[in-house]
Amino acid sequence: MSRPLSVLIVEDEVLLAVELGFLVREAGCVEVGHALDSADAVRLAQDLKPDIALVDVHLSDGPTGVDAAREIAEQAGAIVLFMTANVKRLPDDLAGACGVIGKPYSDRAVRRALTFLARCLQDGAAPGPPPPGLALSDSFVGRWGVDQTAPAA
């Protein structure tokens, strides 16, 4: 591993954000910031240029996570991963995000997803099929050459 990946956490539930911070560190990444609302999320993403942004759909200013995710992906160039209880409400293209983890998630599922993403980012290709609990967007399946032949989780 060349350098640890930086992660921005966008989550309005503070206890979840704290726990996510632990999981980020356990996956060998570094938490660089935490935003509670979409404006902070976009600003922090542009200032900190994180490698990965973990984004909830419902933030403290409403269901603004999808728009924030699009801006973070397009303007700050971060790899966005949605973490939401509202998987069905996400647009088909996942707003430029690489994938989604449905809530309620387990700590293991998040650790595995982060480890998987770290490998994808560092190698430019997936080490194998995505771990259970992580669903990838079509465009990232193509970008990372993900093997989807494994049984669906």
């Binding site: 206890l15 726990e19 509202n86 309620p104 387990s106 599922a109 609990g133 049984p151 989780a153």
Partner: protein, 324 residues
């Protein structure tokens, strides 16, 4: 009633009774000698007039509901019936037109249609509201389960005492099992049924990552149970798997865990087998908390729970009656 001369140019009215005069509001001298198209007005349906003209041109009788206008401009619905009258040689000589004012019936019909449309709109709105509410509740339940999970993980991190840690981790695995159920229930299109095989695949995907040395073998028939049984069954299976990991499979040592789901004679049979030390001497376990709640859950599911010697290891068998 009116009679028009079918042979004179433009078919003028040659007779009008008092009922017609009352209905239309005209005096007799105002209608005699005129074609009755003066009854039409701005909202009269031109298609109806065309159909009427066609029937007349072909010398056929016809019935139409047409919007007509009184002399004072007031519209009324006219149920018009026209019949041709022919002479001995079959020559068309007169048309007889009889009129009934059906404005009240038309109004009632329109009101009925409006009421039906309104009812449909209300029903649609109610359905949309219900769906939105369901999504909202689903969303809140998921978020609350997430919060409970994260709280348990946070406290586990802070706990140094091994026994307390183990208890917290057991609770976390139980909450996670319920969370997995909830995630699955609302992912499927059928909210009434719960797919046991998919649940077990989810559960094992989550559990196994911590114990890579254990080889996991799944042999799962597709089995759907009522959604109401999903949480108790998921908890029971979770306990059996947890038990296998704790007592059957020593950490750090290779082992094998297999789970089988199948249908058998009106029952669903779920077997969890490990290749550990198996049944203790005397064939019975101490009633730990895990086993206690598994037995209670089995009771609730009207299922039987038995433990047999595997070859090697332990085979836990949960057998529940199949529904429908």
């Amino acid at each position: 009633m009116i009679i028009v001369d079918a042979q004179a140019p433009d078919m003028p009215i040659v007779f009008a009774n008092d009922a017609f005069l009352n209905m239309s509001g005209y005096r007799r001298d105002e209608v005699m000698g005129r074609n009755c198209r003066f009854l039409q007005g701005p909202d009269t349906d031109t298609d109806v007039i065309k159909a009427l003209a066609n029937a007349i041109a072909n010398g056929e009788p016809t019935n139409v509901d047409v919007l007509n206008y009184r002399k004072d401009g007031e519209p009324f619905w006219n149920a018009l019936q026209i019949s041709p009258v022919r002479d001995a040689k079959g020559q068309l000589v007169y048309y007889i037109g009889s009129q009934v004012d059906v404005t009240a019936r038309k109004a009632a019909e329109a009101a009925l249609e409006a009421a039906a449309a309104e009812q449909a709109r209300t029903a649609q709105q109610a359905l949309a509201d219900r769906t939105a509410l369901l999504h909202e509740v689903d969303h809140r339940v998921k978020n609350n389960l997430q919060l409970i999970t994260s709280l348990l993980v946070l406290q586990t991190r802070r706990t140094l005492d091994d026994a307390t840690r183990a208890a917290l981790q057991s609770m976390l695995s139980r909450v996670s099992a319920i969370a997995t159920v909830h995630r699955r229930l609302f992912q499927s299109h059928d909210l009434e049924r719960f797919d046991v095989a998919t649940f077990i695949r989810d559960l094992m995907g989550d559990v196994s990552s911590g114990r890579e040395e254990v080889e996991i073998h799944l042999d799962l028939e597709r089995v759907d149970i009522p959604a109401a049984q999903a949480a108790p069954l998921a908890l029971a299976v979770n306990e059996l798997v947890d038990n296998a990991f704790k007592h059957g499979l020593t950490p750090g040592h290779p082992g094998r865990l297999s789970i089988q789901v199948r249908r058998l004679n009106g029952h669903y049979v779920i077997e969890v087998c490990d290749d550990g030390p198996g049944l203790p001497e005397g064939g019975a376990f101490d009633q730990g908390f895990g086993l206690t709640i598994t037995n209670l859950l089995a009771q609730q599911l009207r299922a039987t729970l038995t433990f047999e010697a595997g070859e090697p290891g332990l085979r836990a068998i949960l057998k529940l009656p199949a529904h429908g």
